[in-house]
Each structure stands twice: as structure tokens, then as C-alpha cells.
């Protein structure tokens, strides 16, 4: 079956790939572009570890048909750091011991970024709500929530 050409912006860089029909964005990112930061978790939209930003909006890449991002921007964890410098959220996660096994961390960080991009000073309840689609198997929610609040209170969350 013929592959379909697909062009979009990935972490600020134009990419052009060919995808099989029905390929989801997670597979396109990991296997065709080599961005391994979005993780495969459940494939059902239940765990959030594949979260990405599409045109700045939080989406689940495992449930996104790759062809639907043609001409759009896709941002993953790989793109949120500023060169060699960690994003303030990444620094806050490290400072607050917010990663255990680390599997949920990319999705947590992307979900937290989606929140802080639109609400730089969220309440604790708003942080809980924002990461409610992301499952942490280590049950480390408290340090994750604290890290997001720390990043926000530090005024270091960038727009």
C-alpha cells in the first residue's frame, strides 16, 4: 500500500516523512523521526505518557492519526529545553525529586507545560486537574505536583 507524504513542524524544525495509512503520531515521532521522548504506554488514551503539544494544545499522540498534523506544529519534551539548558519545569522536577522510574515524566512535563503556558500561576487544584490524564505508576504524584507549583512560583515558566 502506498505511503502518504506528511510534512509538519517538529520542535521548531520542518520535517517531511512518509507514513502508512492509519499510523499514529506516536509511531511517526518515535520510529520515523527518532524522537523517543513521547513514550508508548497504553495505546488507549488512558495513561498520558505519549502526550505532546499540537499547535500548543495538549494531545495524546497515540490517539492522533499522523496525517492530521500536516502543516501543524508538534512539540515534545525533546523540544522544550533551551539548548543545553533545562526548561524550568525540568529543573523543578529534578530539584523536587519528581521522577522515580521516569516513564511518566515526559508526559507529565508536557501536560504541566500546557498548563503553565496558559496559566503561569496555577492553584494546586489546577495542577492536579492538569496532570489528571497522566498516570504515574510509582504513585509519586505529590512531588510532581510540588515541582509544577515550584516552577510556577519561581516565575520561571516561559510562555
Amino acid at each position: 500500500m502506498a505511503k502518504t507524504p506528511l510534512q509538519f513542524q517538529h520542535n521548531g524544525r520542518d520535517v517531511a516523512i512518509f507514513v502508512d495509512g492509519g499510523t499514529n503520531l506516536l509511531v511517526a515521532l518515535r520510529e520515523l523521526i527518532g524522537d523517543m521522548t513521547p513514550k508508548f504506554g497504553c495505546g488507549q488514551g488512558g495513561c498520558g505518557t505519549c502526550s505532546v503539544l499540537i499547535d500548543g494544545e495538549l494531545h495524546l499522540s497515540c490517539l492522533t492519526l499522523a496525517e492530521t498534523v500536516a502543516g501543524r506544529t508538534v512539540e515534545t519534551l525533546d523540544g522544550i529545553k533551551d539548548g543545553p539548558n533545562l526548561h524550568p519545569l525540568q529543573r523543578a522536577f529534578a530539584d523536587n525529586f519528581a521522577a522515580q522510574c521516569g516513564y511518566c515524566t515526559p508526559g507529565m512535563l508536557i501536560a504541566a507545560k500546557a498548563l503553565l503556558d496558559r496559566n503561569p500561576q496555577p492553584s494546586r487544584a489546577e495542577v492536579v486537574e492538569a496532570i489528571s490524564g497522566n498516570i504515574c505508576r510509582c504513585t509519586g504524584y505529590e512531588p510532581i505536583i510540588n515541582a509544577v507549583l515550584a516552577a510556577a512560583s519561581g516565575g520561571r515558566a516561559r510562555a
Binding site: M1, G22, G45, L65, A114, A130, S132, N134
Partner: protein, 272 residues
Amino acid sequence: MPVTVKTFTSTNEAAAALSSDRSARYLGGGTLVMRALNEGDISISTVIRASDQAMTRIVTSGARIVLGAGVTFARILAERDLAFLHAPARSIGGPAVRNMGTVGGNLFAPVPYGDFTVAMLALDAVVSVQGGLGGREIGIEEFLQSRDRQTGVLVLAISFAKPGSADAFRYRKIARIKPKGGAVITLAAHLPVNGSRIVGARVALGSMAPTPIRARAAERALEGRPLDTSTINAAAAAAVEGTSPGDNALASAWYRREIVGVHLRRLLSGQE
């Protein structure tokens, strides 16, 4: 197995393609169809999309509210005129799912999902569909009863009369995991009042049958009566009548039958 993706600019063309291919599925937000593809559902060989802007329109200006089938739950949450629907919209998934999931797709969501459809059933919504031979409108209850046979039609929109007052529409989702989690039971009620008496009561239940259903016995207990303690008790006692819940990881059928009346009593009496 690769599938063929067909994107149409008009809903007519999309509907024709959908109705002519038994292995075709319409892709709305992706939360159902992409999940099926990820799980290797070989019954899907074609994915149909429509970029028609009519699919994402929201009309709140008239007596009837119209939600395009492609309207997402995040869009509903952004609409001040749809404040009465914010509770059902917010009860679905996490933020990413609400950015993706659509009103039309929710009509097809199996138990324990489909919470928004419970709200639509309580509001006596009408579903606009387009088949290969043209469009028609179908009551949501009839639509749900024949849901398994509706895969070849394209849902265009859902419409319903706006509740007369903020207090007339009530919604509650019972979940073990908050703020996100599958439903143990979902309840919605529309209770228009004429004078002090309820006229045209509708009570809808989710996860109490394979599709959302009306609690007709509870509706009969409410109809024509004031919403006082004895009426609420009568409706709560009748809530389980006609239900056929199933067992799943969230709750057993027995548990659902035991608690549906308790939660209907709380919904009707305004308890948290």
C-alpha cells in the same frame, strides 16, 4: 495492517464514502477509532475524515442549541453559554482527552464511557445524521437503541432545547478515581417545572445498561409532582427498574443496582 485514509471537504461526500464501505469508520477526535486501530482491529480498513466547518460549529443563539459532531469537550468548556454542560464535559477524561474527544464520537463510546451522551439523553437531544441517501433527524434514544447499526451513517450534529433554568438540568458522574476515571454510574436529569410541579421529567443513566438509558420508572415518579422529599424517595426507589448493568473492573452489576437509587436521591435533592 495499513488502512486507507480518505479526507473529504464536504460531509455529503464523507457520508457517501462511509455508507458504501462496511469496513470504513469515521474519525472524529480519534479516541475510539485510533484506539481500535492500535489494538489491531482488522475490521477497519478505511478511515474517513471530513474537514467541513459545519462539523465544528456551535449555535447557542436560538431556542435550540446545536453542537456540531466534531465539537470537542474543551470547546464546550470554553463556551459561557454552555455553562450547564460544563459538568458533563469536565467529567470526561483528562485535559488531552477533552481536547480531542468529540460530542459525536461520545455517542458511540461503550460502557464505562459515554458520559456526555447521558447528558444529551436527559436533554432529549436530536441527532442529525447523513447516510448515503440523504440526511435525517433521529431522537437520541432511538439512535442509541440502534447504535450498533449506525456505523455506516455520519453524525453531523446534536441539537436540544436549552433548559429553562440553571436548576432544571442536573448531572453527576460517580467515579472511584477523581478528577479522572471511568464511570461507576452516570446520572443526568432534566426537570422542567410549571408552577411548583415537574412537567416533562427526564432521567438518564449511564453504565446501567449497554448504552445510556432513560430511568422511566423514576420519571413517572417525578412527573406532575413537586420535587419534595416523598417524590425524591419514590424516584430513587424506582431508579433501578428497567436497568441491566454489567460487571467491569470499576464495579459489579450488583453494586451498581444497589447504589443507583442513592445517587439519584442525592442528585435530585442537591446533595454533594
